[in-house]
Symmetry: D2
Amino acid sequence: MIVTIEHAAGFEPIEQVLRCCDEYEASLNLTRDKRYTRIRITVDQAYSELFVRLKSIVGVAKVETTGKPYPLAAREAKSAASVINVRGIEIGGSDLVVMAGPCSVESREQILATAHAVRAAGARILRGGAYKPRTSPYDFRGLGEEGLQLLAEAREATGLAIVTEVMSIADLELGAYYADIIQIGARNMQNFSLLHACGSINRPILLKRGPSATIEEWLLAAEYILAAGNEQVILCERGIRTYEPFTRNTFDVSAIASIKHLSHLPIIGDPSHGVGKAELVPQMARAAIAAGADGLIIEVHPNPAQAWSDGQQSLTFEHFEQLMNDLAPIANALGRQLNPNVQALVVS
Amino acid sequence: MIVTIEHAAGFEPIEQVLRCCDEYEASLNLTRDKRYTRIRITVDQAYSELFVRLKSIVGVAKVETTGKPYPLAAREAKSAASVINVRGIEIGGSDLVVMAGPCSVESREQILATAHAVRAAGARILRGGAYKPRTSPYDFRGLGEEGLQLLAEAREATGLAIVTEVMSIADLELGAYYADIIQIGARNMQNFSLLHACGSINRPILLKRGPSATIEEWLLAAEYILAAGNEQVILCERGIRTYEPFTRNTFDVSAIASIKHLSHLPIIGDPSHGVGKAELVPQMARAAIAAGADGLIIEVHPNPAQAWSDGQQSLTFEHFEQLMNDLAPIANALGRQLNPNVQALVVS
Amino acid sequence: MIVTIEHAAGFEPIEQVLRCCDEYEASLNLTRDKRYTRIRITVDQAYSELFVRLKSIVGVAKVETTGKPYPLAAREAKSAASVINVRGIEIGGSDLVVMAGPCSVESREQILATAHAVRAAGARILRGGAYKPRTSPYDFRGLGEEGLQLLAEAREATGLAIVTEVMSIADLELGAYYADIIQIGARNMQNFSLLHACGSINRPILLKRGPSATIEEWLLAAEYILAAGNEQVILCERGIRTYEPFTRNTFDVSAIASIKHLSHLPIIGDPSHGVGKAELVPQMARAAIAAGADGLIIEVHPNPAQAWSDGQQSLTFEHFEQLMNDLAPIANALGRQLNPNVQALVVS
Amino acid sequence: MIVTIEHAAGFEPIEQVLRCCDEYEASLNLTRDKRYTRIRITVDQAYSELFVRLKSIVGVAKVETTGKPYPLAAREAKSAASVINVRGIEIGGSDLVVMAGPCSVESREQILATAHAVRAAGARILRGGAYKPRTSPYDFRGLGEEGLQLLAEAREATGLAIVTEVMSIADLELGAYYADIIQIGARNMQNFSLLHACGSINRPILLKRGPSATIEEWLLAAEYILAAGNEQVILCERGIRTYEPFTRNTFDVSAIASIKHLSHLPIIGDPSHGVGKAELVPQMARAAIAAGADGLIIEVHPNPAQAWSDGQQSLTFEHFEQLMNDLAPIANALGRQLNPNVQALVVS
C-alpha cells in the first residue's frame, strides 16, 4: 500500500508510519518532494490491521492499496480466495454449500421437520428467522429468542449449522450465542452502526446485498465489517429492485460473477428472494452456481401455502430434494462438489 | 375501524374490545355469524391509540381502518392535515418552512456563520450533521456530540430550531437532548428497530424516503413510528435511485403530490440530495413547492468547494438568498407564505 | 469548433476544410505537428450546417465543438435559447404554451368539443392521436388519415395549431400535410431511421423522451434530427420507468431543469403520461412550469371514463380550465405569461 | 378460445364465426343469454390464424384464449415448445445453438476469419451487423448492403447460417434476401410498424428485449409479429437497464426462466450485451444455459481492442473456443447437447 503525507503535516506522521511498519516487519521505500512524502509499504502479515492503523495516524492524507475504495475486500488484498470455516464446513472452497430452511421459525415441529428434510437432501446449514424485518409494523415479526432456541435444538438434532438474521445491535450478542452465522439483511446493508458492531463479533457474517445497492456500495458495506476487525464475511446476492413486475426482485446473477472478479470474499446466491416465485427457483439456483456462486440459500417449508411469511417463494421438501439432485451434475461439470460427504455429518 | 374476531377465539377478545371502546368513548355496532364477529367502531379522539390497543388484543384477527395498509398514516385517519409544531414553527400549515445548513457540522465558525446567513435569508430551522452515514468506512463520519453542542450553540445565537440525523438507537437520547427534530436518514428508512425506538422519543421525526423505497413502503415506515406512539412525523422526499446518471438521484416530485393525496402527514422536499448538483437546486426547490411541499431542506455552506461532504450540491450564502427571494412570489401564487414574520424570530 | 486531421490523411482533407470555411465566411487558425493538423474555426452563420459538412469530409478524424457529444443540441451551439414558431405561436419564448386534447381522436363530436373547450381555457395547440402506438396488437390503433382530417377540421374551427404523432417513415409525409407539429413518441425515440427522416420534414418535431432514455441519449436523438437538417426540435419530458408502482411513470421534473442547462432547445412537460393519474396532473403541471418548462401537453377528454385510451390520466374540461386558472399566477411569479392574448387567436 | 358477441350486434357476426370454424374444422359450443353470445372453440390446426380471423369479424366483442394478453405467444397456445428450423439447424429443440460473430461487419478479412474461427469452435450461426443502431448520429452506422454481401460470402465459405439486424421497413426485404434470420434490435422492440412488417417476411425473427421492457411487453411485441402472420419468433434476452453502473446492462437471467414458463417460443441469451464486459461473458453464458436458454449469441472479434464497436464486450477467438469447451459439460448436465455434429456441417 502507499501512504501519502502532505509536507505541511511535518515529521511527526512520518515517524509514526515508520514505527508502525517496524512493528509489522514491513519493508518500505520513501520518496519526498516539496509537496508530499510518499511511502510504499510491503507487508507479509496482518495487511488489513496495518492498513487501518496507518489510516488512523493524524497527518496521513491517504492510504492507497489497490486503487479500489475497498482495500480489504478487494481481490488484490489476498493471494487466494477467502475460505470461511463454520463448524467444519468450508464456504468459498471447492465444495458448494447449501443453506436451507423456512423464512420464519414458526414452531418446534416446523423447524425440526424442515431441518431433517433439508439435511437428508444435502443441505449443510439451516436457515430460519427469529427476528423478521417486516415492511408493515402489523406483520408477524418472529418468535425472538424462542426462535433462536428452537434453531439451536434443530442443530443438536441434525448436526446442521445455523444461520439467522439479526436486526439491531441489541440482539447481536444473543444471536451470536445461539447461531453459527449472523445474517445482516438487505434492508440493513447500510445500517453502518450495525455493520461496525459486527466487526467485534466472533461469528461469520452473511451480508445480503441491499435492494438497490450497487456492487461497490455492497463491497464498501463488507469493508465496514472487515475494517472493524471481522474478516469472516460471506456475501449474498438476493435480487435488486428494478421496474420488472413479474419477478419479486431481479436476481442479479451477473453480480455473482462480478464479485468473483472484484473480491476475495465468498458469495452465495439467494434465488428464493431473487425471484420470489417457487416455480423459478430451481432454474435460478442452477444459474447462480453456473455463474460461480460458492453456495445457495433456499427457502424450504413443510407446507408453503400455510407459511407465515414468504410462502410463494418457498419450496416443498420434495421440490428441494429434486433441486439438489439436479444441481449435483452441474456442480460436477463446473469442477465443484455438491455436498460430497453427507455421511460424515453425523451429530458429534 | 372494523375489528374482526374468529368464532374459535371465544368471548374473551370480544369483551376486551367492548371495554376498550368504553374507555375511549367510542360508539360501536356488532355483527356475528358462524365464522366471525365483526365490530364497527367510531371514535372522536385518540384514534391511533385505540387502533394499536385493539390490534394487540389476543384473539383479534384483524383491525381494518381505511383499506390502506397504513391506517394511522392514511389521509382518512384524520379530518385535517397534520400540523407539527417545533418551537412555535408550524410544519404542515399554510406557511412554508425552510430548513437549511451544511451537510456536516465542521467547526464553530462554519456552523455559526451559516446559521446567521440562512436565518437572514428566511430559513427557520438549521440543519447540520453530527453523525454522518458514509458509504465508505474511511470517510469523515461527523464530529459526534461535539457537533451537537455546536448546533445547540447556533440555536442560542440565532433562534433557529435544530434538525440533525441520528443513526442508531444508542444515539437517539443524546440527539433528542440537543436537537428539536430528529432526522432518520434514507439508508435507515427500513431500520425497523430504530423506527420503533423513535416512537418513544418526544421529538418530531423527519423521515427521509429510502433511495429505492416505494411510496407505500415509506408510509409503512412512518406507520412504525406512529404505531409506536409518536404522532409527529414529517416526511422528506430526497430523490430515488434510477438509471439516470446526470443527476445524483431522481428527485421524485410526484411523490410529494402523491403523499398529499394519500396521507395527512406533512412533507418537505430535499432538492440538494434530490439532484446533487447546486446549479439545479433552485429550479427543483420551486418545483417541490409547486407540487405541494410544506417546506424544503437545503444544503448551504460558506464555501462549498471546501466542504467535507456534499460540496457539489451545497449552495453559497448568496445563492441561497437568491433562491429564497425567488421562492416567495411562487409561494404567494400558491396561496402560501414563505416566512412572513422573520422579525418575530429574535432570540428570546 | 476544432477539426482534427491525421498526418497520414495527406493534404486533400485540409484543402477541403479550408474551402468549406471560405464558403461559410468562417475565420480559422491552423496548427500542425508530426501527427495531427488541427484547425480551430469560428463562424457566425449556419454553424450546424458547416459542422455536418466538415464531419463528412473523408480524412477528417474528428470535429469537436463543445466537448459534448451533441454539438448541435448543446447550449453552447447558440448564443440564445431556440424559439420555434408554429403558426405565430412561439415555443421557447417568454410565453408558456399549452397543448391539450384527447389521447386518441375518436369522433368528430369528440375532437371538436375538446378543441373548443381547451381553446376557451387558454390552450393554443390541439393534441390528438390518429396513429397510436399500442403495447398490444389487439388494442385500438387510431383512426389513421380520417383522424388527421378531423384534426384539420378542428383547426379550421378554432384556430388552434395541431400536434400529432407519426410512427413510421411511411406516414411522415401525410402527417406533415395535415399537422403543424409532428410528435415522435417515447417508444420511437431511438428509431434512428425515423429520426433521420424527420430531418427533411418542414415541420417542428416534438421529441418525447424514451421511457428509459438518459438525458444524454435523448439529446443525441435530437442531434439526429438536427444533423439531418431540421433545426426545429422541441423536447418533451413524459416520465421515466422506475420501480415505483403508484405512478404510471416517474415524471422526471429534474430533467426539465437539466435540459435548460445543457441545451438551447425548448422543452415542455407532459404530466399526463408522467404520472398517469388525473388527480396528480395539476400539481405536476405546476412543478414542470416551476422547473423551467416552456409549456405543457395535457390530455383532456369530454368524458374520461369513456375514453378509448388513457382515460385514467385525462382531465375533464372543467378540471382543465381549473388547472389553467391556477397556473397563470405561477407563470407570472416566474416572469412568464400564460396565454396573454387569447383574443388575438380568432380564426383567420 | 372463447368468442364473445354482444346481443346488439345481431346474427351476422355469429354466422361468420360459425362459417370460420367450419373452414378450420373446429368444433364448438354456443351459449346465449340476454346480453351475450359466447362460443367456445377447439381447433387442431392453424390456431393463431383462426384467432386473428375471428378477431377481425365486425361485431365480435372479444376473443379470449388463455387469459394472457398474448394468446399466440402464450405457453397454452401450443401443446409443445416451438422449434424453429433455420437451414437445418433447430432452435428450441434439445440441442443448444450458438450464434457468434462481430458486432459490425468491418471487412472481408474480418468477417471471414471470424466465421471460420467460430465455426471451428462449434457455433452454427454467424452474427454481424450491416445496419447499426447508434446512439450518436456521428458514429459508424455499418457497411449497409456491402456488409450483407460479405455475410453471404461468409455463409458460402463456412456453411454457417446468417443473422443480422434490420432497422427499418425499407431494409427488411434486402435483409431477408441475404440473411437467414432477421434481428429486431432492443431499441426497436416497440417499433410497432416494423414489427407488423416482420409478420409478412418469410424469415425467423430474432426479437431482442427492449432495454426497459417488461417481460409482458416483450411477449406482446412478439405477439405483433405472430398476429401478423409470422410464427417463427426467437426471443433474446440482452440485459435490462438498472441503476447498477458496473455492468453495461443487468443481464436478466430470470427472464429466461420466466419466458420458459410463460411462452412456447424459443429464447436465447446475449451475455455480451447483457454485461458488456468480456471478462464476465463466460460465466453469464453458463448462467443463461443453466436457466434454460435454448442458445446464445456471443460477440467475437479477431482483435477486440481494434473493433469499430463493442470491443469491450467481444471475445477473442481463443476465449470463445474456451467458452465453448467449458459449456459442453454443463449442457450435458442439463440433458442438452452443444453442437454434437459439427462434422455434418460441411458446406453443401
